[in-house]
Every structure is written in C-alpha cells, then in structure tokens.
Assembly symmetry: C2
Homo-oligomer: 320 residues x 2
Amino acid sequence: VTTADVAREAGLSRGTVSYALNGDPDRRLTEQTRQRVLDAAVRIGYAPSAAARLLRGGRSRSVLLLTPDVGGAGGLTPAVVEQLAAELARSGFSLVWQLGIEGSAAPVRELSPAVVLTSPTAEDPGFDRLTRGFSVPVVPAFAGRDAFIAAAGAEQVRALAARGFRHLIFAGPHDDRLRAMAALRRTGVEREAAALGLEAVRVLEWPDARAAGSRLVGALLEEDRPIAIAAYNDDVALAVLAASADAGVAVPDRLSVIGVDDVPSSRLAVPALSSVRADLQDYVRALAAAVVALAEGEPVDPPTLPSRLEVVERDSVGTA
Amino acid sequence: VTTADVAREAGLSRGTVSYALNGDPDRRLTEQTRQRVLDAAVRIGYAPSAAARLLRGGRSRSVLLLTPDVGGAGGLTPAVVEQLAAELARSGFSLVWQLGIEGSAAPVRELSPAVVLTSPTAEDPGFDRLTRGFSVPVVPAFAGRDAFIAAAGAEQVRALAARGFRHLIFAGPHDDRLRAMAALRRTGVEREAAALGLEAVRVLEWPDARAAGSRLVGALLEEDRPIAIAAYNDDVALAVLAASADAGVAVPDRLSVIGVDDVPSSRLAVPALSSVRADLQDYVRALAAAVVALAEGEPVDPPTLPSRLEVVERDSVGTA
DNA sequence: ATGAAAGCGCTAACAG
DNA sequence: CTGTTAGCGCTTTCAT
C-alpha cells in the first residue's frame, strides 16, 4: 500500500498526498483536503516506505551503535546506552544497538544511519572493516575509554594511599574476556602508585574458586604486613571479601579491599564494599549533543569520558 | 558514487556492474570483466546504497528487537540478546536492538527488518503502536515470559518446602520499576505454596536501607518460628543476607533465603547464596530458528520460554 | 557475453 | 490550491 493507493482512495494525486502527510513546507492545503488524505491513509492502512524516503534523499534520523558485546565499554555500556537512547529520542533520533561486531557479522547497512558510533577506536584492529561502506560519520564513541578505565584504578590507589597503605596488591579477574580491560586498569593502578611514591604494586589473578581464594588470603596474611587490595572490579572485590570471610580474616581490620563500578550488591556486602563510581550523566548528554551535531553535518569532536571518578567510601577499607 | 560511476570507470554498463558485484545467479561473465568491475569499484570507493537495494525489493537480512530497557525481559535480556545475535549471524541475519520503546520513541523504520521481535506481548498496551507501520511479521519474543518468571518462584518454593519449611515469606524488591515482574514472581510463589499445601505466603517489600533491613530481620526473629525467604531475585536475597549479618542472625541456621538469577556475586556471598538459574541455550537456538523461518515467510510460532528451571543449591538454605 | 530500460515508492520543482 | 513529472540507485528482464 503506497501513496498511489492513498491518492486513488482519496481521489487526489500522489503529490498532494505526500504534502498532506508530511506537513507542508510552503504549500497551503485545504483543511478538508488534508483530512481526506489522512482519513484515506488510515482507512487503507498506509505506511510510508522508509527505503524510498531515504533513497529520495531524506536525512535519516537513526544512529547505529556498534559494540562487541553488552559489556563492551568497561561494564558501563547498558546504563550509558539507555540514557543515550533517551537523550537522542528527545532530539528525534532513534538509537539502535548492534552487538557481536567482533565476529564475522557485518554492521547493518540496511539502516542508513545518520551517524555510526563504535566502541572500537580508530587504532583497534578491524575498525576499518567496520567503517567501510558507510558514507556517514563513523565516530568512536567512548573517547578516552582507556584513560577512563585506568582512572578508576588511580582513584583506588588514592583512596588506599590516603589511609596510609604503602604496599598495594592489584587483584585481576579470572575471566579471560576481561584481559584487555584488566591490563588497562592495572596500568592505572601502577602509574598512580608510582606517582605517589608507593612501593611497586603486586599483581595477582584472583582465583575463581572460593577455596583457592581463601587459601590465597591465608598466604597473604603470613607475610605479616597490612593488606590493601585494589580489585579489578566489584565482582573481584566481592570474591576477595568472600575469601576473607572463608579464611576468617577480618575486613577491614586485617585486610582492606576496594572495587570499581559500585554495583548494587556492593552496598549489600558484609562489610559493605568501598568502590569507585562514575557519574556519566553529563558525558552522555554531551555525547548525544555531539551526535546530533554530527548528524546535521557539523564537524564536532565527541566528548571525552571523565578522567576523574568518585570514590564511594564504605566499610571495606581500614587503615595501615 | 554509484554503480553508474563504476560502470563508466570500467567502461561497461550498469547492469553488468550489478551482476559482477553480486555474483551471478545465472549470468556467465568473463573473469576478466568481473575483475575489471571489482577493480574499478575499489578504486573509486564504491559502496552500495542499502536504501536503493531495499526499495528495489530485496528482502532485508536484519531483525529488529524492541524492548523497553536492558532488563526488559526479567533480567535475562543481555545474555539472550548476545546469544541470539550470534545465532542469527550464523544464518546471515543481523540483530539490532532498540531500547526505550515505552516512551515516545518510535521504532526505527529506516531499517526495513525481515522480522520484528518485541518484548511486549500482544496484550500489552501500546503493542499496536509498536507494530503499526511494519509490513513484516511482528512477533512477541519471550513467549511464556510471565509463566517463566512465575516458574522461578515456584522452584524457590519447591526447594524450600523440600527442606521442611511450611511457612514462607516472599521478599519483594524496593525498586518501583520492578513492580510488574515482582507481582508475577509472587504469584508463582503463592500458587506453588498452595499447590504444596503450605501455609499462606507472607509478602514483604524488602527495604532498601541496610538498617531497616536489619530491623526487619530482628522483628521476624521474634516470632520464633523458622524463617524461610523466597526473594524476588538475587539482589534482594543479597540484601536479606546483609541484613541478617548486620542483625547477627546466622544463615542458614536461623534464617534461610533463596534468590533468582544466579548472578556472579551470589556464589561469592557469605554464605554462598542459593538461587534459581535458567538455561536458555536451547530456547535461544529455537528462537533464532523461528526467526529465520519467519523471515523466509513460513508461518511458525516462536518457542516458549521453559517453565522448569534449575535450583542452584548453595549454603543459604537450611532445614526447618 | 553485454547493453538498454523499466520500475520499486517517494518528494519537490514546475505547471496549471 | 492541486496535478504532473523527474529522478534518487539498484536489480532484472528482454534484446542484441
């Protein structure tokens, strides 16, 4: 069912139908004519062909976000995507999210988006493959992501150092898929420790099994010096907490630990887990604005993720 | 840059270019001609117009998934979406996910998908608004979602009843956005309790603040009978655990609790949290197959979510 | 083995 | 105020 059908039904021409349906740029239509078209359209269930509109040269109002997986941008993706979608909707754009870009799956070109947002950066391998075939701006969203991930580690170090700890342990995740992000975080931890003149950071991969974790805590304890752990994220920090409880080690009296992300269960851990949180509201707003500008053809740079995060002090960090 | 440009560059006609670029259905091209076209295409950077292709009548190889938010389908969405995307990619389809459908944002029509998957069901208000304007199958994905959510509650009850508990408490979430799902889960709990001939289930909204939670546990304890709690999900169950620890109540000796979802931190709670887990692999595979069939025009029904889940027994449930 | 041309549904410039 | 028409880029049938 096309405009031609509507035109026939309404006894008018296709041109008139088009004007009536889109609101007139200049054209003055009789209210009666307009109504007649609208009625006919609903009566026969007209739905415009997006493809034809696009082909005709209309700008698209959609934005395509490409990430390898849901956690693609350091665990911050879901919340960011939801807010970004809402923000863009305010400006009349729709955000669509395509996952699993790493593999063979090619980005959808059927959606001729106004802007493409990617979580891989221009340096990432495969970026060219992603961008190929798009004649619209392809922007690495999450600019400054590496620094952002590292910054969380730096905050952890500052929080721990402020309590007098001079020797820090970095507890990395067991999950292999997190390897790259963990390396970034670790670098942040190490750099800040060096900047603050602390001892060299000891790096551990925290074991997945509870029993192994508890043995590890036991071993750490024998060294007989204050234990301060910067965990890769809250999940790892929670594992440290569990291991400590299993080993009968008091937190924060004999062991301090701080995570990253401030996931809901951190508040509910025993003791409540200190963590690092990012407030991304302003960033997402700026990102949405940049996307809209890009869509309008203005050559703006997308915003950079904040490099200063907020420490949430709870009960898992003591003093040296 | 269009096929016409490629044709001019290669000294051939647009038709030939099209055949060379797409692989010949029947047509036999000289290898030399084919190469000439391919070279010309890369040389001048040709990229096909998806809109024109679509308009011309080619079926699209994309699938649009519409959900209100990331957690749209009972917390199971992210994992399901990732697997579904991978599964569909295997058949040459790309899945794109549009969030925030509840609000004013209209589904993207620029993407003329082969199939539209929605998390709202046909009964949900606003479903018509979503489906309007699509001339392709619009299928409520997650068929049997309500039963699925309820089933998890039923599993909790069975697990608790098997340990001899006759009086159960349902701990609902504080978060208002979860209200609808919580009601479903509660129904599952209540129905199974009735079916098993247990006492009427007591329904509580678990408080957000730790102090309030701990007071609540204290009050429960005074009633001097075994406490068995089916929590809405693991987050609530974790809160119960935290409250118990704060109140100095031993779990599972004096209080039993079981969650739903088996989130990573459940394993790491102290004591490790018993939970209910769903294995959705088969379901997602079947869903992908149904989507592909639908795209081919076969009128199949999408699969129903399993109504039998798996209990993960850990250390937070004792005996009556 | 290649070229010519029609037409997908739409909008906008031009006639009337 | 409304009708007619060209053409967006592509695929595909029909000629050659």
